[in-house]
């Protein structure tokens, strides 16, 4: 007799359940063992190209701040010119700034108060970071006012990737002058080549050369009206005129030369389309007394640099200058907005 269906169903269900249990357990074990092996290592993704393929900044803003700190430490260690370790200073200072500080150390060593040096504390309130590939590189920081109560424009330069940025110059803002606005530090500023004059009244190199001519010839320079009047130009021109008049009246003479320092002209585009230009000069001023005249004496600083102070008939003073210009867009007048200047050597005979 065929068993009731219910009896048969009850007989097969435990077997199916056991089979189901086994299958589920096997599936779970397989999943646990196999699935972890499926987790993959992340892959390297190359950085996306920047939008617009803009040239990178020479340094990142945080990097610029750290470089300024290192330079501040070096300048701080050289705070007393009489005790300056010039070799250590050269690790973070170069160009006109180093020459001027060497001269200050020489003067101080002779027991004479040296001319005021540039900024020692490079606590930056702003930076101008050019967008540029390759080396040499440079950037500017604008510092809080120092002892002269004027903000300084600190020029830092690096000749190669393996060498640090060094303080090249610390020109102070001239009275009433202000720096043209450039891009925010994080945005950077486009570099203007020394001979580029797109949308500018003249190229950066021409600005530097023509301003030198104006300093030598004053209002007689053919470029005099291309530059606005400024305190430095006025003092240099009037001082030269006074000395020339005095020496010539006594039968002597005063001669001047002013040359651009090698590779010293650098510039960036300002926000208004103009340019901010930095240039360095080496100038020499030679004063000669009248032939057969009575020998004169040198002032303290000149005597300390010359190593003598009396019986002098001819004196050649070498100065170094760093000038920052604001060049307007279009065809306006160029303005010198910051200047650093001082004697670096004196020869007397």
């Amino acid at each position: 007799m065929r068993p009731p269906r219910t009896t048969r169903a009850r007989a097969t269900t435990p077997a199916a359940a056991r089979a189901t249990t086994r299958a589920a357990a096997l599936a779970a074990c397989a999943a646990v063992l196999v699935l972890p092996a499926c987790a993959e290592l992340p892959a390297v993704t190359a950085p996306a190209a920047a939008a617009g393929e803009r040239t990178a900044l020479v340094v990142q803003p945080a990097q610029a701040a750290r470089i300024a700190e290192a330079a501040t430490a070096a300048l701080g260690a050289a705070g007393d010119p009489a005790a300056t370790d010039l070799d250590a200073l050269a690790a973070r200072v170069t160009g006109p700034e180093l020459d001027l500080r060497r001269a200050a150390a020489t003067v101080a060593a002779a027991g004479v108060a040296p001319p005021a040096a540039g900024a020692d504390d490079l606590d930056a309130i702003s930076s101008v970071l050019p967008r540029q590939d390759g080396w040499p590189r440079w950037f500017l920081t604008v510092t809080e006012p120092g002892e002269d109560s004027k903000p300084s424009v600190v020029v830092l330069r690096s000749p190669s990737a393996r060498e640090p940025y060094r303080v090249w110059g610390t020109p102070s803002l001239l009275p009433g002058a202000s720096l043209p606005t450039t891009g925010a530090p994080a945005d950077g500023a486009a570099v203007v080549g020394p001979d580029e004059d797109t949308n500018l009244p003249m190229s950066p190199r021409a600005v530097a050369e023509r301003y030198a001519d104006v300093l030598l010839h004053g209002d007689d320079s053919e470029f005099a009206d291309r530059f606005t009047a400024d305190a430095y130009r006025s003092s240099v021109v009037s001082s030269a005129q006074e000395q020339t008049g005095a020496l010539e009246a006594a039968g002597g003479s005063l001669t001047q030369e002013r040359d651009l320092l090698d590779d010293s002209v650098v510039a960036v585009r300002t926000r208004d389309g103009g340019a901010l230009v930095v240039a360095g000069y080496r100038s020499s001023v030679t004063a000669r007394g009248p032939a057969g005249g009575r020998p004169g004496t040198l002032q303290d600083v000149a005597a300390a640099l010359a190593g003598r102070d009396g019986d002098v008939t001819s004196v050649t003073t070498v100065l170094e200058e760093v000038v920052v210009f604001a060049v307007p867009p279009g065809d306006g007048q160029v303005s010198a907005v910051a200047v650093q200047s001082g004697p670096v050597s004196v020869e007397a005979s």
């Binding site: 359940a17 999943a31 060498e163």
Partner: protein
């Protein structure tokens, strides 16, 4: 004495059908599979989860004065990458991060080992490397190309936050450079460590497996409750014997 007789069938109880057995089998299958999946998912999320960090060791090639990472490697995983290096002879070790553009300029033609990626699996990752160049570089401590740096006698460690930055991307991204003094042999022990995040930090199917398993288990349990096995008629307990009255 009266013998207890068979109890009549409860008029409200329906007999168990073959379909009920099939439903109960399906419910059991769902419950077991669900529990299995949920347990598997839980295990994958816990004890069998991938390691929290990924560390790849680098052996500099002979003659290399520096180890440099390829652009994008520091951003391999997580919000930061840590670079550790040590020199067996106790020499000063330098670890710096700079842009790819500046690293190329600083290295020049110097002999270096470039880490181009990580191979193998999460438990035993291997750094993929290649050797390039010849000659020496220079003391890295004299340069200003570093976005961040660390150095010390015998070992150095630097953690770099790998936040994306347009300015860095414009310079080719950030890379790490490990060296001693730029002229001597590179540190022999270099490790790169990342905190794993995203798919690398947990198995991608772990959560779906656990959640899906829980749903299946609930469905199976509900199915079993709805199709409970009724007691068979023949297995009912005997009725209480009728009370015998003696007159």
């Amino acid at each position: 004495m009266v013998e207890p007789g068979p109890t009549p069938t409860d008029p409200g109880e329906t007999p168990t059908t073959p379909e009920d057995h099939v439903r109960r089998a399906i419910a059991r299958l769902l419950l077991l599979a669900g529990v299995g999946c949920a347990v598997a998912g839980a295990l994958l999320l816990t004890v069998l989860a991938p390691p929290g960090t990924l560390t790849a060791g680098v052996r500099p090639a002979a003659g290399s004065v520096a180890v440099v990472t390829t652009p994008g490697l520091l951003e391999l995983s997580g919000p930061a990458a840590t670079v550790r290096a040590s020199a067996e002879d106790g020499r000063d070790v330098f670890v710096g991060v700079t842009t790819a553009r500046d690293a190329r300029a600083w290295l020049g033609e110097a002999a270096r080992t470039e880490v181009t990626g990580v191979a193998g699996d999460l438990d035993e990752p291997l750094a993929r490397t290649g050797a390039q160049g010849s000659g020496a570089a220079a003391d890295p401590r004299a340069a200003d190309v570093w976005l961040a740096s660390a150095d010390g006698p015998g070992s150095a460690e630097l953690t770099w936050d790998t936040t994306s930055d347009e300015a860095l991307d414009a310079a080719g991204g950030a890379v790490a450079v490990v060296t001693t003094d730029g002229t001597a042999a590179a540190p022999q022990q270099v490790e790169l460590t990342w905190r794993l995040t995203g798919d690398a930090a947990r198995h991608p199917v772990a959560v779906p497996l656990a959640a899906g398993g829980a749903v299946l288990a609930v469905l199976g349990a509900v199915g079993l409750l709805l199709h409970r096995r009724r007691p068979a008629r023949g297995s009912r307990p005997p009725a209480r014997p009728a009370r015998q009255e003696t007159r």
